[in-house]
Symmetry: C2
Subunit: 464 residues, 2 copies
Amino acid sequence: MDELTGTKTSPSLRQEKRPILDHSLLLSDLYQLSMLEVYRAEQMNEIAVFELFVRKLPVRRGFLMAAGLEQLLEFLEGMSYRDEELDWLRSTGMFSAPFIDRLKDLRFTGDVDALPEGTIFFADEPVVRVTAPLPEAQLVETRLINLIHLQTVVASTAARMRLAAPGKQLIDFGFRRAHGAEAGLLAARASYLAGFDGSATVAAGRHFGIPIFGTMAHSFVQAHDDEAISFERFARARPKALTLLIDTYDTEQGARRVAELAPRLAADGIAVRAVRIDSGDLAAHARAVRSILDRAGLSEIKIMASGGLDETALLSLCSSGAPIDGFGVGTSLTTAAGAPALDCAYKLQEYAGRPRRKLSEGKATWPGRKQVYRRYRHDGAFQEDTVALLTEAIDGDPLLRPAMRGGRRVAGLPNLEGSRALAASQLQRLPEPHRALGFATYPVHMSRGLTDLANSMTCSMRQP
Amino acid sequence: MDELTGTKTSPSLRQEKRPILDHSLLLSDLYQLSMLEVYRAEQMNEIAVFELFVRKLPVRRGFLMAAGLEQLLEFLEGMSYRDEELDWLRSTGMFSAPFIDRLKDLRFTGDVDALPEGTIFFADEPVVRVTAPLPEAQLVETRLINLIHLQTVVASTAARMRLAAPGKQLIDFGFRRAHGAEAGLLAARASYLAGFDGSATVAAGRHFGIPIFGTMAHSFVQAHDDEAISFERFARARPKALTLLIDTYDTEQGARRVAELAPRLAADGIAVRAVRIDSGDLAAHARAVRSILDRAGLSEIKIMASGGLDETALLSLCSSGAPIDGFGVGTSLTTAAGAPALDCAYKLQEYAGRPRRKLSEGKATWPGRKQVYRRYRHDGAFQEDTVALLTEAIDGDPLLRPAMRGGRRVAGLPNLEGSRALAASQLQRLPEPHRALGFATYPVHMSRGLTDLANSMTCSMRQP
């Protein structure tokens, strides 16, 4: 990978995960605290089961890829109110003093079952199931959705880009237009998980051990009075994994300058690894630049493209055979601009041993504790899924796996590299219409037990 | 405001601003460090002028509202590498030891001029101008764009919602689907700045003094065996600013339960302030609910609506006269789903006293240090803007104002309430087609001096 472009952190330097996000419990909706106060007053402390699921796929998504579980577990493991937060809550007068005093001891003590990160999933399938005393299971809702939603929208976008550009290097360039720092950092993680090769974001290298890459900006070229001089100075000061940006003034002229410079640098042991094109008709420029470099005997110099790319552009560039070896993808990746939000919900499915159902128009839920079973074709491709009650015996591979028991994560959860390997294997097993980024409907069945339960509850609950 | 719904932090509790975001300098692109190393090696330390601007308005935006400056200034004032970050950088082997050692002393010492938060602006107009030694001005690029871009996309979205729903209460409900915690928190700030009345996000109350609001979730109703009992228990435990969610099973039935309950609560001094509807045909349900409540003599109970609302839905509900008093807006606000990203750039316009220009196809920049001058009609509405070189004498109100000098913020910058007042006044002065959320083109002229400079540079720089 590092032969193409940029600088890469060594795998030996990859750090173990560590909490770096702000997991303050005040990063939450006020109503969670209001409901908690009532639950405490009513001593409603029995076991609740909540499930996070997507009601409907976005228009431009034929499948989704689960991501963000690692950060969710980190949040749940460390969950508590800080003293200064409780002081502030007290100062607002919104809650009773005894209630706030008891918040100090609040921890998450429940169980989590979830789709492992990298798992492909569809509408109506539970992604995360939380089983915990009602106040805890309710209180975590806001941040739980926030963490899973963000990385899932980005991983789902990145997975489409990975499918659109097979064999090409893909680098996340999008921190600057991500929605804040946490989004930028987690987008680097989610895109790497889904198959990107790395990120330009330095902190993603430090915190997640993700390979990081960098080239140069137009301003570097502009700050010099002469483009050729800017290339040479950069090359001599930063000779490793050297990539030169050639479109500041005129792309083909930039390529000719590289062709002139490269032999002189080679004489001093410096190799130009790649050039980057960031504007204009990328396919046409890439062909022209490839030709200029090849005629100069520089076929080993790769071509990298960037600038407003989304999966449609990647698909078009790759299928047209444009001689581009790698892509820097920014805004459309880190803002998931094609589908920046999911119609997802975290809903109460059972309380105190009884299934629960919401009947709101267009938003009715599937009650009870559920599992997703996937069956495969003989070639390993996904064939169909069934969503069923936990109590049913259903053929297929159960997709939700234990992630946390009694507030502690279970042993043997995959690390980021493991999740990335799962994501790659999932993309290989995706049926062909979906691999081709089509929007064919994938068969997701609701089991007999589940439909019977839902129907019986609809009848009984509509009674006044 | 608090008579409608929810709980509100008292203005007396509003905190002064304090840094709460993670402003690590590693939350940046790797190439910034690479270029910095070269600039240091070349002793390229003269004054650079960079400007942030939007190349083109998104399809669904006729105007934009500047926001995020406060957080940018906070970042620039505190900017430095932490020891453990430098240790990590050293461990990667990507940079020379003397270079890393010198990073320890790096601070931002430059000037910032910017559109005050709440200012309405258009394409090609500088939003932020940074004047600083080249290495500093370059290094801040990634986080600078990230901070201004996020709040600007959200404020611009919120401003459209404010215009769509005049006189209605608007509350941010969208933390859960914002792209991470920072996005959720800053979206609460940007939407309040643009005219929202408050947010459901507790931390937004703590850190920015924004009024916070909360109702109840469907799960609260579901966890009880009986909807009427759930209403009564909530009311007695949380009697202040009481809002009941009535659509868990059947909206009109929920309203009748409120009608039955309200007199009994009133006898104990508890007032139901509002009901919330979150599903179905909101206008039709609101009319039916209004009628049920009015017939029961409960015309003082307000109706709040939520559920997948965007500015188009708000416009339609408000123009149809649906009896809805306030709206909770989530996903479409905090992800700015209609226009989640701006085609913006932070470009070098001058270095060492000489104007600079990038000529990349479709991305050529306007060179030189610039100011935006706005002229108004006799009724105060915006008439036209002119972007000009600082050295030109142009009629109109100069929009970019000093924000920082020598690395310290200037005195007298507006606080959040001041910016919110500016935003309200800007929306009032917006020309009518834009106020009606149309996409008429607003006249932005490039001055003669600017076009002459740009043309002369194009000719000279295209030379090989």
